[in-house]
Amino acid sequence: MPKFAAAARPALADTGLRRALRGTTAQLRGRAAAAAAEPADWEDLREAGRAIGEEALLNLDVHLEDLERAVTEAGGTVHWAADAAEARRVVTGLVRASEAREVLAAASLTLREIGLDGALARAGVAVQETALGDLAVRLGEDEPSHPLSPAAHRDRAGIAELFRRAMPAAGADLPDDPEALAAAARAHLRERFLRARVAVTGANFLVAETGTAVVVESEGNARMCLTLPETLICVAGIDKVVPTWDDMEVFLQLLPRASTGDRMTPYVSSWTGVTPGDGPRAFHLVLLDNGRTRALADEVGRAALRCVGCSACLNVCPVYERTGGRPYGPVHQGPIGAILTPQLRGVESAAMASLPYASTLCGACADVCPVKIDIPDVLVHLRGLVVDSRRRRPVPPPEMVLMRGLAWTMGDPRRHAAVLRRGTRWARLLSRGGRIRRLPGLLGAWTEARDLPAPPAESFRAWWDRTRA
């Protein structure tokens, strides 16, 4: 994975992608703002959501054991996976045992995180994506750009084009209006749903007290996956645990309004273990760590684990709106990704270290977060960790050399004035049309992700001396 600034470059140059993203995020942002403005108790709900999330994390070990006991008593099986490889092994083993050649997937970030598709493909099992956006991304051999609207970077014409090619039954004259595309996806997947024997899904919440799994969705593809097959495998991070069933009264109000701007999404499903005569005969819950306990150990950074996956922070983020999701890496995108991914994977690599800087720190994400994750606060905290992790290197990083030089220069007014004068002259030589696109040498890193306005011909101090002295 390249550094954020480098990965963002192609996206910034792609005007079609930027137009599509701007449209999608503006839609979602407007809907969510209206939905949050409606209930008089919205701030009370956010405060409760924050506190429940904190409580869930501070006693996570107890809640996980309760959850395991409750799921098992209800006829389900709980598996533990310390990392992605272990989760892949568990799921692949379960699918093999079922002898299914195809599994249905209601896409979730967790399934992407563990790279399940590739692992099952190697085991000779095809994974069928079932949500419209995920289907489009798969057909386009593409990467999702938004967790709720994976095909947000494609416009309707692009999606219609993909469907016409991959779904001969839809006809070569399939129109590109959203209703027609939804109908085509429905027809294409129907037969597969009716024949499926195994499905893999994520979960939005896991209730420790009762062992209940909860899935919130709009299309019904998750309902299909969790209802029709014989075997249901659910892969969920340990951060999805909420302590009690009553806590759902808070999250069922917060999540739909913050994510799609619905008072309630069309469908919410919950189930506890297995129910004779209704739904799958076998239910497997795979609990995934994969770096979450590392994040949990950071008292500031652990706030990111409260995330309920609404994507409100992406839809208001000026950086995300221009770059799309891909530069953030393959799984968690936008502002929440910028704080979650480096914690899950550590900040040692250059790519991870670049993520906390993929922000203007404008704070819009913190304002809309339904569980009050202070994303800018965590970004700044992580920037500190990045700097600390480099402080120990034998050769000091360029920023540090620069900052030390700056400290020396600014320690003396005459020195400062002289450097300013000379610097201004050089900077103006570098500028074109009032902007500097690239600074030379070590300073170049700073202009990698931004242009610099050319400095004025005369500094304020010089002007003051000339006119007032």
Partner: protein
């Protein structure tokens, strides 16, 4: 060490001494509807009706004695010929059906049969006014989850006394041990340009009959 022991050990190590007592969850949010919108029972029912319509579902009020006629009229309106119903649907609901064949889900219909019917008629366990939601829990007159998922049209009968004001009231009433499905309007996607489009996998049409007893 098993993955289970390893993960629990990591969690305990990560939390270290940092847990201890923390303040209780502030639950100052509204548990019930208040204000002019919910002064009386009739207001709560009216709010439910308005919000169901907002969710792009059809909704109608009927008296208890007109229910059979209303169910039949709704099915005729959709030109339904064959429908599926839970085995324990009250007989009176289907008493006026003429020209519509109702297949009881006992023994369980296979999925192809479910996919071939023109619709399904069920009751519900609870309904939420603030969000325009009906909740099914597999109890009386509701059947298993596949019934209300596979057919393209779902007619749901809600008795006025099943309607509560808020999500907290519904959560308190429902038993998490049962499989629950909260339904707020027809299946919808935002997959294309973030625009809401109806109908991908679940029922394309939801119709709600509110019975005033």
């Amino acid at each position: 060490m098993t993955a289970r022991e390893e993960m629990l050990r990591r969690v305990r190590e990560a939390l270290g001494g940092s847990r201890g007592a923390h303040p209780p969850v502030p639950r100052g949010y509204a548990r019930r509807l208040t204000g002019p919108q919910a002064a009386t029972r009739a207001d709560v029912v009216a709010l439910f009706t308005e919000r169901v319509a907002d969710n792009r579902a059809a909704v109608r009020h009927v008296g208890a004695d007109e229910l059979g006629t209303a169910v039949a009229a709704a099915l005729w309106g959709r030109e339904a010929k064959r429908i599926a119903v839970p085995a324990d649907l009250p007989f009176g609901w289907l008493a006026e059906l003429d020209g519509v064949r109702a297949l009881a889900d006992t023994p369980a219909l296979d999925l192809d049969a479910l996919a071939a019917v023109d619709g399904v008629v069920t009751g519900c366990a609870a309904a939420v006014a603030r969000t325009g939601t009906v909740v099914l829990d597999g109890g009386r007159a509701q059947g298993r989850r596949a019934l209300t998922l596979v057919p393209g049209y779902h007619l749901c009968v809600v008795h006025a006394d099943q309607i509560v004001g808020t999500v907290p009231e519904a959560v308190t009433r429902l038993d998490p041990a049962r499989p629950l499905t909260w339904i707020s309007g027809p299946s919808a996607t935002h997959g294309v340009e973030g625009v809401r489009a109806e109908g991908v996998h679940g029922p394309l049409h939801l119709e709600v009959l509110v019975v005033e007893d």
